[in-house]
Every structure is written in C-alpha cells, then in structure tokens.
C-alpha cells in the first residue's frame, strides 16, 4: 500500500536540533541524610562537567514536575528558581510544571 502523501520535510523545530550532551546523577538511596537540594546540585554539576561545559554556558532549565509540585510536597525536589538561585545561573528560558503553565511556557520562552 503506497503512502497517501509524500513524507514531509523535517520541521526546523527545537527537537530536531537538540541533543543530550551530558548527564549527571546524584547519590540515590533512602535516608541519605543529605539536603535534597545538595543532591540536585550534585546531579546538575555532574551533568555540566560531563558535557564539558561550565556554569556560564547554561542558558536555560527544563524540569518536571517542577518546584513545589503543585501543592504535593515530597513529590519532587528543587524547581527552576531553586536551581537558578543555588547555582547563580543567568537564564534566557525555562520550562517546568508550576513554573511555566503548559503550552504557554513555550510561547513565553520565544518572546
């Protein structure tokens, strides 16, 4: 069965030009006795180092579900502003759950 129409040319959207350039993971375990924000910092700094970047290269943060997790404490750790403030990042864009309401977050980021 032949396709009903020719395949479309790839869209020049972000997902076509994005790549994962570094990853980082914190200690994982129950009752580590460590501040959750310290675990976030450990993972972020490991990812930045893994990518061969420095803090000054970071221009955006994307997270899910995001800070405060819509009123469900314990469901998530640090949100966008927690990480931005902790690492003193200068951001051009961000997206998260409560931080950027749904599709509007993408619109705001392009403005």
């Amino acid at each position: 069965m032949s396709p009903r129409r020719a395949p479309r040319a790839p869209l020049a959207t972000g997902e076509r030009v994005a790549c994962i350039s570094g990853i980082g993971q914190s200690d994982v375990g129950r009752r580590l006795g460590r501040d959750p924000l310290a675990l976030t910092a450990e993972a972020c700094l490991a990812a930045i180092a893994d990518a061969g970047l420095t803090r000054d290269d970071i221009d955006g943060i994307s997270t899910y579900p995001g800070g405060n997790s819509m009123g469900n404490p314990g469901f998530t750790g640090a949100g966008v502003s927690d990480v931005q403030d902790m690492l003193r990042l200068e951001l051009d864009w961000f997206s998260g759950g409560p931080e950027a309401p749904g599709q509007l977050g993408s619109v705001i980021d392009t403005c």
Binding site: D35, L37, A38, A41, E42, L45, R55, M86, L87, R88
Partner: protein, 151 residues
C-alpha cells in the same frame, strides 16, 4: 518546676519562631555563644546565606559555619504600624542590614534600641548607620539575631 522551660524575658514580644533544621541550626543557635554564624566556603571563603549546599562563588560543596563579627550597616528599613501578629505590637522596624564581612551578605531583621517613629520621620539620617547584632533568646534554644545601633 525545674522541668519547665523558663518564659522569655518580659520585654520580649511574642514571635513566630523558625523551624530549626540541620541546614540552619548553626544560624539560629550560634547566639548561645554570643556569636552570629553563617556558612562559609572552605575553598574560597565566600560567605553563603541563607544556607545553601553550594558556594555561589566557586561551586564548591564544602561549606562550614563560621562566626562573623556581628557588625553590619543598615541598608534600608521600614516601620510597620499594622498589628499583623497579636502580641507582636507595632510600631517596629523591619530592616535589611549588610554584614561588614562581604558586600551583598544581607539579613532581614528587626532593629531594637531605636525609636521607630523618629526613624520614620527622617530615614536618611539612619540609613547607612553602623549596627551590631544582639540576640533574643527564645524557647527551643533559638537565638534570634536582631540589630541595634552602635553607640
């Protein structure tokens, strides 16, 4: 009677006390030694407050509580007249002070030993003045760092 916590001094107002955690204990309890303590980076000696797991200067993760001089400068203030909390009676001065140890190392606090209405009448005469820490001892071994003018 010995197992009862002694009441705070009669002149001390009612206050909603902070939740003491492992991360901030050094700050709320250091007043017991008459010192104001904050986290300081082991690697680059940057002061970090409020407590955070990472040094914003060098991104080092080894931070230790250290004593400050307790001397500061009044950056700005406002005089509160509304009775927000029963027992914590206005007028009182809510102030931001900057510790002498580091530019930008600031604390939101109350000024004591001042006349709030006089300060409100002529704020420019007070902004920039030298202040020093005094502690108000409360229940649960909490020592609230307040500031007073250097005589």
């Amino acid at each position: 009677m010995s197992d009862e916590t002694p009441p705070p001094p009669a002149q001390a107002p009612f206050r909603i006390l902070p939740e003491v955690t492992e991360a901030n204990e050094h700050f709320w309890r250091s007043g017991e030694r008459g010192e104001l303590a904050m986290l300081c980076c082991d690697a680059c000696a940057t002061w970090v407050h409020p407590p955070a797991p990472v040094c914003p200067g060098c991104l080092g993760m080894q931070l230790s509580p250290k004593a400050l001089s307790g001397r500061a400068r009044l950056v700005t203030f406002t005089v509160n007249h509304h009775s927000w909390i029963p027992g914590f009676d206005p007028p009182y001065v809510v102030a931001i002070v900057e510790l002498v140890e580091q530019a930008g190392l600031r604390l939101t606090t109350n000024l004591v030993g001042v006349e709030p209405l006089r300060m409100q009448a002529d704020p420019d005469a007070f902004i920039g003045m030298d202040v020093r820490v005094v502690f108000e001892a409360r229940d649960d071994d909490i020592y609230l760092p307040l500031f007073e003018p250097v005589a």
